[in-house]
């Protein structure tokens, strides 16, 4: 039985990367607080280099915070990815040496599930993601969008209660992004998982999310949290809603100032 969507709490989260010996460290993130509710679709947007991916790594347990705490379902992270969290990366993370079926089954096999259960879950995920006809294909034979679907399916079969997605559609064209967004909404509705999405695209964040967290230029902090109040049953056609433009405009107004600040500080450093 699939777990209900999990919740994430971050308190005073800070990340500072150590610099070269004798040099200054890079204060990438925080301090910030974050509450992502159970079953929520939460997106994070912000200027380039503001620490979005660092935040996602920290929420996933892939990176330890310098200060503050992160807890998933009330359990503090202890320097490793906890059970129930699935991560999808921006880059193509499919395994070139495995066919689609084996790619999707990879995590299940490592967890020692029975062959029949692996088969059931993989067949379902392949069908759900529209990959059934490509089960015996290798990633090199697929388009970028399909390879990303393989990665999502590989995460999906593990039935995570929380899915963390780091710009999973960044390399795709606009049409495919919209369609993949619809698929992501379908996954979110059907699985009940909590989704945290990192994205550069304001329209994508507005279309998909219940709430959107807007981050400042580095060190990244939340400067605005926007609730969309969209119905749970929604798809990409919501872009024609009157409020869609208002929300995107509000995000852009704040993001523009932060992006200019980020470019300015970058230029100053150069």
């Amino acid at each position: 039985m699939r777990e209900a969507g999990g919740h994430i709490e971050a308190r005073g989260l800070t990340k500072v990367f150590r610099g070269a010996p004798g040099g200054k460290g890079i204060h990438a993130l925080g301090p910030l607080d974050l509450d992502v509710r159970s079953g929520e679709f939460f997106s994070i947007v912000g200027p380039s280099g503001c620490g979005k991916s660092t935040l996602l790594d920290t929420l996933a347990g892939l990176s330890s915070p310098t200060g503050g705490t992160v807890a998933c379902n009330g359990v503090p992270l202890a320097g490793r990815v906890p059970d129930g969290i699935g991560v999808v990366f921006q880059q193509d993370a499919s395994f070139a040496w495995l066919d689609v079926w084996d790619n999707v089954a990879f995590g299940l096999r490592r967890r020692g599930l029975a062959a029949s259960e692996i088969s059931r879950r993989v067949e379902y995920a392949l069908s759900f993601m529209g990959l059934a006809a490509f089960a015996k294909s290798y990633p090199a034979q697929l388009s970028g969008g399909m390879r990303q679907r393989v990665c999502i399916a590989r995460t999906l079969v593990l039935e995570p209660s929380i899915m963390l997605l780091d710009e999973p559609f960044a390399a795709l064209d606009q049409q495919t992004r919209l369609l993949m967004g619809d698929e992501l909404l379908r996954i979110w509705r059907d699985t009940g998982a909590t989704i945290v999405l990192i994205t550069h695209a304001l329209d994508e964040a507005t279309m998909l999310s219940d709430r959107i967290g807007l981050m400042s230029a580095r060190p990244g902090r939340f400067i605005d949290i926007v609730s969309t109040h969209w119905p749970r049953e929604r798809d990409s056609r919501i872009v024609s809603d009157r409020r869609f433009g208002d929300i995107t405009a509000r995000l852009w107004t704040n993001l523009r100032a932060e992006s200019l600040r980020a470019i300015g500080s970058g230029a100053a450093q150069e």
Binding site: A60, L62, R80, V81, D83, I85, G86, V87, F89, Q91, D92, A93, F95, A96, W97, L98, F106, G107, R110, Y138, P139, A140, L158
Partner: protein, 245 residues
Amino acid sequence: MRASRLDGVLVLAGFLLVWQGLYMLVGGDVVPSPSSAIVRAAALLRSANFWKDAASTGQAFVLACAIGIAGGACIGFVLGSSRFATEVADPILGTIYSIPKITLYPIILLVFGLTLSAKVAFGVIHGIFPVIIATMAALRNVSPVHRRTARALRLSWGATIATVLAPAALPEVFTGIRIGVAVTLLGTLLAELFASSSGVGFALIRAMEIHNVVDIFALVLLIFLFAAAINGLLHILERKLRRHA
């Protein structure tokens, strides 16, 4: 495919033409005709003495390949797993690899004597370095997202190596193995040429001592065909490994 076969036939025809031209230019005392060398090579293939030498060379070559590949891959994996170890080992290995190995043969003879072990050791010191260097480079080139995926899937260290790093690195490691096998054959034959009491290299030096040019060319032809066959086989395997990359 048809074009590459045609290329191969053209290269072979060109090679035989140059050989025939050389024979006509300098005479049979220095370069035998291709036909006489080919006939002699066929005769050698039917002689028990040749197969005794081939078995001796083959035994040393196979053992040297096994040690060089297994040892090289293990050392390469250990060094390649740590960025610090890679940065320290890379220039050292590069320097050792560039040393002419033949200068080490007297030391090997002192340690092992005129034995099979000496030939194996000389083959290994030729073949192990390309495998180590290729394995280290292959691990360095494994996509960071694959390492992060392994962590996100909560794989243990052992499972990460066995199921992610090793298969991701394998095509590149195999390129090192292919080069390693080629230079292992070179090392084994060099050992037999310089100091040995058996093997194809030893047969070649015997033919040189009595100035039997037909035997020299026939043996070189057989060695060339063997090396080309091994290399071709490894190329096919490498292509299969890279098919999905």
